[in-house]
């Protein structure tokens, strides 16, 4: 597109301006458009007016030129009339014929007076001139060519000034000369001409030679625009007929263009005013339109900004249909986002199963509560753990377990409707009691919780006992931060759990200390595993029927580099908990086998296998490797397991046991009579040995029922072909009683304390005599 040249700078400046807001852009574009249209209109109208003015002026001038010619022709006509009359006068002709110059002169004088001519002259055929007295000289010869050609009027030069001349032939009857009348073309005539014209026109007669080159270049009869000191002028040149050779008179009509345009200038100003007004109106209109578009937009943007800032911001549904629809959509979007956000927040902060808040939500609330807590506005954090949940889940199925969890949560929430109950995951729950006054009694709250969480519940028509343990911490004395309160409540729960099922415990400072020691112990234990700080001691197993040692039970000892010897009762549960029991157990098996391989005869070694170790898939592999490495015959290795391995998947446990048995090792059931003692185990797996728990053995002297139990066990065992061994025998009387009750083997201080490996040989020699000798020799 070819833009008009005058729009180019406008477009360029607009492009440079480049408004950033939509509103400004709309307004500017609209204004620019209007301004452009207006500018074009003004220019077109202006040039049209100018053209029109030019035309009018030109027409006027042409008309004036004609008027002037007419004027001259009229004047010449009058003069010629007079001249003709005189030229035909007989007396005048006679005077001329007889060359009576005096008469002729006076006749010419009276003619000049009568006609108002300044010169009246007779020009004879040979160019001789007779004029009226006092008239300026006339060059007759220069008139002859024109006169001879028959011209009867024209301009001549009189003393350097132009004069209008007419000529009448003097015939008598042949042409003998001409009567010439001349009158100066004075300012009077030209002034009269100016007065006659409609527009102020300046008329001037000048010789062509005296005109400027521009004027001469103009051409005759055409109108041109020429500069002058008074501004631009319209100029028209026309040739006047000349009666005298050597002169070229020109009528110069000039008309000030400024004056001609004066009238139209007002019109132009009005046009420009209208254009300016229109453009301003366009700007105003553009701003209005732009505002009607951009105001809803900026309202939406503002609402969106506020919404992003977190406030629920909606916009008013008003205005034009499109705008209202946009506002409606925006509001619908806000609602939808709100709803979705609510759902996301809910699922992020709630537990799907129980619909209770989750741990994260709980901790957020806890942190807020802790921030506000004080001595008279205490925070109580209760950490709940359902007892035996895993057992219930495993034995009764997950649906029951889930129902149990829901029921426990519901009960807790029902009891404390104003406080937060959350499920932490698994079978753990949290209860946050806030705003506890200094007079409130946490202990009574604890009792309430205990009663709620420890009662019979019915799930799917089955009644079962709900038991739960919980630990409590009360801020601010038990913790200044949420983390601390949580940790301390957890410690209290741990303590409660360790004290037994269905119990609770408040946090005490000692728990913290205990936990710290436990953690240290854990670290030390890990290091001991790495550095081999363990040692095996062996306690003899004595056969009362054969009167000799049958074997040893390997017992682990930990020689702590700083704290000395640490009891297995202290670190085995910890090892079991942390999983360190696996490497420890492997070491025990290998060490026991290695030691026992050096023992004489058929002395066996018994090793305790913890439930966790039993569950390890590498146990049998470890045993095979230990036997192979030591060369110990498999039947001389005895694995002692406890009944707890049967908790959970019995089938799997039996499979494991049969697998171990197939290696050729013996399997003893330890601590028989405590825990889940079930005769069904004995029937389902052929144990090689039962180890009667020392609690029965200790009571043997004082309690008759202990006799009955031991007798029942030994009778049952011998019927099933299982050996029996009594632990913890310290007195001869006990041994005698056991022998009477049919027990096969005993173990205890009566025979010997556990001894270090290097004392085993001596002990065997002392107890078994000959066998020891042969061992000593080997």
């Amino acid at each position: 597109m070819v833009r008009p040249f005058f729009l180019r700078p406008l477009v360029a400046s607009i492009a440079r301006f480049r408004p950033r807001t939509l509103r400004a852009r709309i307004a500017v574009l609209l204004m620019a458009l209007l301004a452009g249209v207006m500018a074009v209109s003004v220019l077109v109208a202006g040039s049209g007016i100018s053209l029109f003015a030019h035309r009018v002026a030109e027409r006027d001038m042409a008309a004036n030129a004609r008027v002037f010619e007419q004027l001259i022709a009229t004047r010449q006509g009058q003069m010629r009339e007079s001249a003709i009359v005189v030229a035909r006068d007989f007396g005048f002709r006679e005077a001329f014929a007889v060359a009576d110059h005096a008469t002729l002169g006076s006749a010419l004088g009276s003619l000049a007076g009568r006609t108002g001519a300044s010169v009246a002259a007779v020009v004879s055929l040979d160019g001789k001139v007779v004029t009226n007295p006092g008239a300026p000289a006339l060059d007759g010869a220069s008139l002859l060519p024109a006169l001879d050609a028959g011209k009867d009027s024209g301009v001549i030069s009189l003393k350097g000034e132009f004069a209008l001349a007419v000529a009448a032939p003097i015939e008598m009857p042949d042409l003998a000369g001409w009567l010439v009348l001349a009158q100066p073309l004075g300012t009077q005539d030209l002034g009269a001409l100016s007065r006659l014209s409609a527009v102020p026109i300046k008329a001037q007669v000048a010789p062509a030679s005296a005109l400027g080159s521009q004027q001469n270049a103009l051409g005759l009869g055409t109108i041109g625009e020429l500069p002058s000191p008074q501004g631009s002028q319209l100029v028209r040149l026309s040739a006047l007929p000349s009666l005298q050779s050597g002169i070229e008179p020109r009528l110069v009509l000039s008309h000030s263009l400024d004056q001609a345009m004066q009238a139209y200038r007002t019109l132009n100003a009005v046009l420009v005013g209208i254009a300016l007004g229109g453009t301003l109106a366009g700007l105003w209109l553009g701003l209005r339109i732009a505002r009607s578009v951009t105001r809803p937009l900026s309202q939406l943007a503002d609402a969106a900004r506020r919404y992003a800032g977190g406030t629920v911001a909606k916009v008013e549904v008003a205005g034009d249909a499109e705008v209202a629809a946009l506002a409606q959509s925006f509001n619908a979007m806000v609602d939808a986002i709100e709803e979705r956000e609510r759902q996301i927040v809910h699922s992020a902060l709630h537990d799907g199963l129980t619909e209770l808040p989750n741990r994260r939500f709980f901790i957020e609330k806890l942190d807020r509560a802790v921030a506000r807590q004080s001595a008279v506005h205490r925070t109580m954090l209760v950490f709940v753990d359902l007892d035996n949940f895993k057992v219930i889940n495993d034995t009764m199925g997950h649906p029951v377990g889930d129902a149990l969890l829901r029921e426990a949560g519901r009960r807790l929430q029902d009891q404390f409707p104003d406080h937060m109950v959350a499920r932490f995951g698994g079978d753990e729950f949290g209860l946050l009691v806030t705003g506890l006054s200094d007079s409130a009694d946490p202990a009574s709250l604890a009792r309430t919780i205990h009663s709620v969480l420890n009662e019979n519940i019915t799930i799917d028509g089955r009644s079962m006992q709900l038991t739960a343990s919980f630990g409590m911490a009360v801020g601010p004395q038990d913790g200044q931060s949420g983390d601390e309160l949580l940790k301390n409540a957890d410690l209290a729960l741990y303590r409660a759990k360790s004290e037994g099922k269905g119990t609770y415990h408040f946090f005490e400072a000692s728990l913290d200390e205990e936990a710290r020691r436990r953690r240290q112990l854990e670290l030390d234990l890990a290091r001991a595993v790495r550095e081999g700080d363990f040692e095996l001691h062996f306690q003899p197993l004595y056969s009362m029927t054969q009167q000799r040692l049958k074997g040893f039970e390997a017992l682990i000892r930990w020689n702590h580099p700083e704290r000395g010897r640490i009891s297995p009762a202290d670190f085995i549960p910890l090892a079991e908990e942390t999983g360190l029991i696996i490497p420890i157990g492997e070491w025990v098996i290998r060490e026991a086998c290695a030691q026992a391989a050096a023992w004489p005869g058929e002395l066996s070694v018994a090793v305790n296998i913890s439930p966790r170790q039993f569950a390890s898939p590498v146990l049998s592999q470890t045993i095979v490797q230990a036997l192979a490495a030591s060369g110990l015959p498999p039947h001389r290795l005895e694995l002692e397991i406890t009944e707890s391995i049967f908790i959970g998947n019995v089938e799997r446990t039996l499979g494991m046991l049969h697998g171990l048995r197939s290696l050729g090792v013996r399997i003893a059931l330890d601590d028989f009579g405590t825990g889940y003692s079930s005769l069904s185990y004995l029937r389902s797996f052929p144990f090689d040995k039962l180890k009667i728990d020392q609690s029965f053995v200790r009571d043997l002297g004082s309690d008759a029922s202990a006799h009955a139990i031991i007798r029942a066990i030994t009778t049952l065992a011998s019927a099933l072909g299982i050996e029996t061994l009594a632990e913890g025998v310290e007195l001869e009387a006990t041994m005698d009683a056991l022998r009477r009750e049919g027990c096969d083997l005993i173990q205890g201080y009566l025979i010997s304390r556990p001894v270090p490996a290097h004392d085993v040989a001596g002990l065997v020699k002392q107890m078994n005599g000959v066998g020891a000798l042969s061992w000593a020799c080997s």
Partner: protein, 139 residues
């Protein structure tokens, strides 16, 4: 030199010096014959139909005749002092009798001839049996 239909008839007349020329008026209007020519300056007052006026022309030369009443009327008299003169017809042919062959100075006159007194002087050689050709330049 008659006046008929406000015209001199014939328009040009060659007369010898001292001839008396009659101006009969054959029109119904009256005429006033005049001349401002040097050889004969005269004016004849108005005279009517079928009246005749006469004028004697003692000097040789051209006499332009006009009528004071009728500006258009023009007539010419050529008063000659030689017997060898003639007026041409409309075709420009004239015949002069009695000339012997030889070279002659010829004066030509015509009212519109360029030259002083509307005359031109040329030299011509007359040979028997052949017309001489003269060329004029007219206005």
């Amino acid at each position: 030199m008659a006046q008929r239909n406000e015209t001199f008839v014939p328009g040009t007349l060659v007369v010898p010096k001292g001839a008396n020329v009659a101006f009969p008026n054959l029109d119904s209007v009256r005429h006033s014959i005049y001349s401002f020519s040097k050889p004969a300056r005269f004016q004849i007052d108005l005279y009517g139909r079928d009246q005749t006026r006469s004028q004697r022309f003692p000097l040789a030369g051209t006499v332009a005749l006009g009528c004071n009443i009728h500006d258009k009327m023009r007539g010419y008299l050529r008063v000659v002092s030689t017997p060898f003169a003639a007026a041409s017809d409309l075709n420009g042919r004239a015949q002069i009798e009695g000339l012997v062959p030889g070279a002659y100075r010829v004066t030509l006159w015509h009212p519109r001839l360029r030259g002083s007194g509307n005359e031109a002087v040329q030299t011509v050689t007359i040979t028997p049996g052949a017309p001489a050709r003269l060329t004029l330049e007219l206005r």
